[in-house]
């Protein structure tokens, strides 16, 4: 079991969801985050105040999957999120110690397997 974390451009979030759906990866959490990943700062001016904004809006996907699905998930994230420009984001895969489906109490692999499959 792994937790796949993908940090992507907000405008690519829909494409990622679509790619995940096609890869039959169900069960996704996402949140809006801000971050910095080496892309150029943008300069904004408000009246006399000029600022350099180093943080960009990103969307963070968190997807808990069984080991068989790790590659498919990574491929879907890459496919959906890539534009080729700096700032496309990162994917982190971390081991997952335990998972529990609250409704049924199922744990681990059963808990991350979509219902009805």
């Amino acid at each position: 079991m792994k937790l796949v974390i993908g940090i992507v451009r907000p405008e690519k979030a829909n494409d990622v969801l679509e790619a995940l759906y096609r890869a039959e990866v169900r069960g996704v959490s996402l949140s809006r985050v801000q971050g910095h990943g080496g892309e150029l700062d943008r300069v904004e001016t408000y009246r006399g105040t000029t600022v350099q904004v180093g943080l960009s809006d990103k969307v963070r996907f968190e997807i808990a999957v069984s080991d068989d699905f790790v590659d498919a998930t990574i491929d879907a994230l890459c496919e959906g999120a890539r534009t080729g420009e700096v700032g496309d984001g990162k994917i982190f895969v971390v081991p997952l110690e335990r998972a529990v489906r609250i409704r049924t109490g199922e744990s681990d692999r059963a808990a991350v397997t979509p219902v009805g499959k």
Binding site: Q34, H36, R42, E44, T49, V51, Q52, V53, G54
Partner: protein, 438 residues
Amino acid sequence: MPLQILAAAVARVDTGDTAWMLVATALVLMMTPALGLFYAGLVRSKNTLNTFMMSIGAIAIALVTWAAVGYSLAFDGTGELIGGLNYAFLHDVTFAPRAGATIPHLVFFAFQTTFCIITVALVSGAVVERMRFGSFLAFAALWSVVVYPVLAHWGFGGGWLMGHGTLDFAGGIAVEMASGFSALAAALVVRHRKDYGRQALLPHNAVYVLLGAGLLWFGWFGFNGGSGFNTGQNSVLAFTNTLLTPACTLAVWFVLDLIRGRKVTAIGAATAIVVGCVAITPAGGFISPGWAMALGALGALPSYAIIVLRPRTRVDETLDVLAAHGMAGFTGILFIGFFAQRAWNGISDGLVYGNARQLLWQALAAVAAPAYAFTATFLLLKLLGLAMPLRTTELEEAIGMDVTQHGEEAYASGEGAILVTPEAGTDGPRPVAQPEPA
């Protein structure tokens, strides 16, 4: 312009008329930022400022071109197709009233200026979220000379339609049909947003849309109520009809929403207010209050149909200027041909009251004005597209127009923002929101 037809040529300024026209001018100017707010609420949050700025930009550009040549082309003389250049750069636009008018020429000019401005701003609704700001300003400059003054001249500046008796009280031709059919042409040339039809592109703030619509309606009392250029009967009729028609459109829109989706929608309501105001714009001073209410109800139908059907096409006429302005203006112009009543307007009857000729000239206007607006705008943008790119890059479109076109965000948080001022440059960056040391 019923007054010019009717009134004896008394070149005396009436203080009451002038006072009202000064207020009406300010009311109409307010409609442009109100439209900006209305449009800004309808786009995604990353394009809020750019969308609003297109309306603000229209004020800057259209005022200058209008004062330079536009006003003269629209209102100098009775040439069939276009006016002369005697008023160019406000030559001879002074305190003396125009022939037959009771307000200073300067006030008349100022009032007409606000019309040109909002019409340019209206067209922006077709190209938001993708057109380069600079290209839009260039387009605004050209459009406000090539398209608006011509149609204003035809409709109420002494041109062929007006000369043959076409009735257009407050701009069904030059404002509403012109903006609506130009918007369609602009959407076809600039083409659709890159995600159009692939992703849901939703309004980001329905409260802006409702408030914008409310302010537009408020301003519209000046727009229609001022288009008699006095405080006479036609003006009073137009003012009251501006209350009646949109309210009836609103009621019918509720019913249409209920039938279609079983719920009455807020953005639908805001749209209905605009549609109603547009429908009564040409007809305001010419039809009875009862027929104005009927127009409100009837006018909802074709505009609603276009709003439902347009998103199923590949035409990304983004904010439905064609439906809300082009179609509703078309309805209003034709409605005059049927239901104008000399008993109310003192000028002419429509078909229902025995004057088929009126309908003929209304119908001609309803064909000629859209044809000119569409064709001229289409060619204008095609030519402009040869000189400069009309759209931003796909990446800029994805990031959002606010940051890429203006270097600002509508909802800036300041998180992660480092002050860069010339003075601060020497001692390195410091956190934002710290006052500069004195």
